[in-house]
């Protein structure tokens, strides 16, 4: 077995592009679900409209990179307004239903034949990231020591990604210690109590939905730029559910929970994948083929998460006291 490969891919995945983009999506979910109690099951759509907003602006409309970013951000805000306006006055479950459906609608529109000219159908769009890599301060080459190396392109997107994660965490940290964050947490506990104290609950829920959606949309940009392409099926529902898994793994309503959760999630996936595929290749596991490794790693990671929920339901950073109360 090639332990060097297993270890190097695992260590790299701890800070890799996937970790960054899922951390951003999860920070958004953490604002929605962890702090405000909103069940947004359409985070993938926020990432999708951002990624496609950038891609379509640059490739189809031939506009510069920065305008593409602006279009993506505006699209995320509009999506939040569109989803929130009819549902945020209703019970929490309605938002869940509407967001999960809306995310699928967004994905299906992106991959539809009808709009192939604009969104590129199931192949997606590519060739919009040149503007971003033109800003790359690192000269061409490999950076790092021994096996721990990254190409100049990867290094640039990772640097930008981690800066975005840091800024997002900083914003969440500042907000959640402020009276604004207090209103959000109070809404999570009991909307009516907050209303009876003179706060406009609808407005705060909308602000939370927009903020979390915009931070999630940064994950969509990171994906599009790192892979220099966007495909519709990347923004499927499982992306949203991975983000939820990460939030719960790290501990909901904790500033660094989603970041550490994302690191652990991807390290586990890559490690299990590496060990299993090497073991299958070396013939240690005769009853499995290398094609089966992909699904089996999800089974094993899922098992690990179930065990986590049993033995540490508050997540890695959670406070045990908080889940001791019956909130209802």
């Amino acid at each position: 077995m090639d332990w060097i490969t297993i270890i190097s891919t695992t260590v790299k995945s701890a800070i890799g592009v996937e970790t960054v983009l899922y951390a951003l999506a999860a920070i958004g979910i953490n604002i929605h679900f962890g702090y405000t109690g909103l069940l947004n099951f359409g985070q993938a759509a926020f990432m999708g409209v951002a990624g496609y907003g950038l891609a379509v602006t640059v490739t189809v409309l031939n506009l510069p990179f920065w305008i593409g970013i602006a279009v993506g951000l505006i699209a995320a805000v509009l999506l939040a307004l569109l989803l929130g306006a009819p549902t945020l006055r209703l019970r929490a479950d309605y938002l869940a239903i509407v967001t999960i459906a809306a995310a699928e609608i967004v994905r299906l529109v992106f991959r539809s034949v009808k709009f192939k000219e604009v969104f590129g159908g199931s192949d997606g769009q590519r060739g919009f990231s040149d503007g971003f890599y033109a800003l790359n301060p690192f000269p061409e080459g490999e950076y790092g020591i021994g096996w721990f190396t990254f190409s100049h392109r990867l290094l640039w997107i990772m640097l930008v990604g981690w800066v975005l994660v840091a800024i997002s965490c900083g914003i969440v940290y500042l907000l959640m210690r402020s009276p604004w964050g207090r209103v959000l947490k109070a809404i999570r506990e009991d909307e009516d109590a907050v209303r009876s104290l003179g706060k406009n609950v609808f407005s705060y829920k909308m602000q939370s939905l927009i903020l979390g959606g915009v931070i999630g949309s940064l994950g969509g940009f990171v994906y599009g730029l790192a892979y220099a392409s966007v495909q519709p099926d990347v923004f499927g529902t499982e992306t949203t559910f991975f983000a939820y898994t990460i939030v719960i793994l790290g501990g909901a309503a904790r500033v660094l929970g989603p970041v550490v959760g994302s690191m652990i999630f991807w390290v586990l996936l890559v490690l299990v994948n590496g060990v299993l595929s090497e073991a299958v290749q070396a013939g240690y596991i005769p009853f499995m083929t290398s094609i089966q490794v992909g699904p089996v790693r999800y089974i094993l990671v899922g098992l690990g998460l179930i065990l986590l929920l049993i033995f540490r339901p508050q997540g890695i950073f959670g406070d045990k006291r908080e889940i001791a109360f019956d909130v209802r």
Partner: protein, 316 residues
């Protein structure tokens, strides 16, 4: 010493003033009050075929403690919900301090100075007692998204709010719990916290929905004292309650609801002897003796039941 006597004087003055205002009022439902803070006209709420609330006219006297009583299902809580914007009325108008409040959303009602508590206490469990209190304060600069990002812009106000909250917590004897999660408090302590939190809004009218429900008797006295305090500080109190002893003890005026309508009003010491109220609570014929035919009917039923039982035994 002089300060204390003045304080004591104002307290008795407030109670006396409230009682004086009610002195010569008629006992009819909807009787006009000398200085009403809340005036309600023709509020109706229907749930399908059921008319839960149908109040023609009622006024709440400023600076008094008014109790709203009535049997189960009388529509008291629904009426509360309408007035505070938590439920929409099918018809009706009501004014608070002369300002129209019908159709105004709940948070604006609270901002106008009309703050309510809930029958099932709504302590915000996973917030600390102190955070619960701070949430009640109005016009917080830090509740604006952009200013929240600049702690310097709201720190000073937050400190003032904290000070105010500490005073209230001390008054309600919750100061030792200030850093505990509200979810860890007992039922009675949650009631106290909810009331203290409502006071952070600085309301003119405090509406308490069953403040004594689920409170242990030891705490009842202290809660009663706090309700009286509210009036003595110049606030108006309207509360829903079942416990007549408590109503008699603290209220200046009692409004009785039954089947959605207001059926009687009056001072607490005489209201329970009002025939309309007794009828509503116990049924119209509760004290009339049974007639001969009714007695016969009961006898027949008992005999039939006995016979059926004997038959069952013999068949075995």
């Amino acid at each position: 010493m002089s300060a204390e006597t003045t304080a004591a004087n104002t307290v008795s003055e407030r109670k006396a003033a409230a009682l004086a205002a009610f002195k010569d009022l008629a006992r009819d439902p909807g009787v006009p009050k000398p200085d009403p803070i809340l005036v309600v006209d023709g509020v109706v709420r229907r749930f399908g075929g059921l008319t839960a609330v149908e109040v023609d006219h009622v006024e709440i006297q400023r600076g008094s403690i008014t109790a709203l009583i009535g049997p189960n299902g009388a529509g008291k809580t629904t009426f509360f919900n309408q007035l505070t914007g938590f439920d929409t009325a099918d018809a009706g108008k009501w004014t608070f301090n002369g300002n129209n409040m019908s159709g105004v959303p709940a948070h604006r009602v609270a901002r106008a100075g009309m703050v309510r508590t809930f029958q099932l206490t709504k302590a915000l469990s996973r917030l600390t007692v102190m955070e619960n209190m701070r949430l009640g304060a109005q016009h917080q600069r830090g509740e604006n998204f952009w200013r929240a990002l600049v702690p310097g812009s709201w720190r000073a106000q937050e400190d003032a709010i904290t000070e105010q909250a500490e005073d209230l917590l001390a008054r309600f004897k919750l100061d030792a719990k200030r850093e505990d999660f509200a979810g860890s408090l007992s039922g009675g302590q949650r009631k106290l916290l909810e009331m203290a939190r409502a006071l952070m809004v600085k309301p003119e009218l405090v509406m308490l929905d069953e403040p004594m429900a689920g409170v242990n008797p030891a705490l009842t006295q202290s809660l009663l004292g706090h309700v009286k305090d509210l009036r003595d500080q110049g606030m108006t109190v309207l509360f829903v309650e079942h416990d007549m002893d408590m109503v008699r003890d603290i209220s200046d005026w009692v409004i009785v609801m039954a089947q959605g309508a207001i059926i009687a009003e009056g001072p607490p010491d005489t209201i329970m002897s009002d025939s309309r109220v007794i009828d509503a609570y116990l049924g119209a014929h509760h004290d009339a003796p049974l007639s001969d035919s009714e007695l016969q009917e009961q006898l027949h039923q008992a005999e039939a039941a006995l016979e059926a039982e004997i038959e069952e035994e013999t068949q075995k």
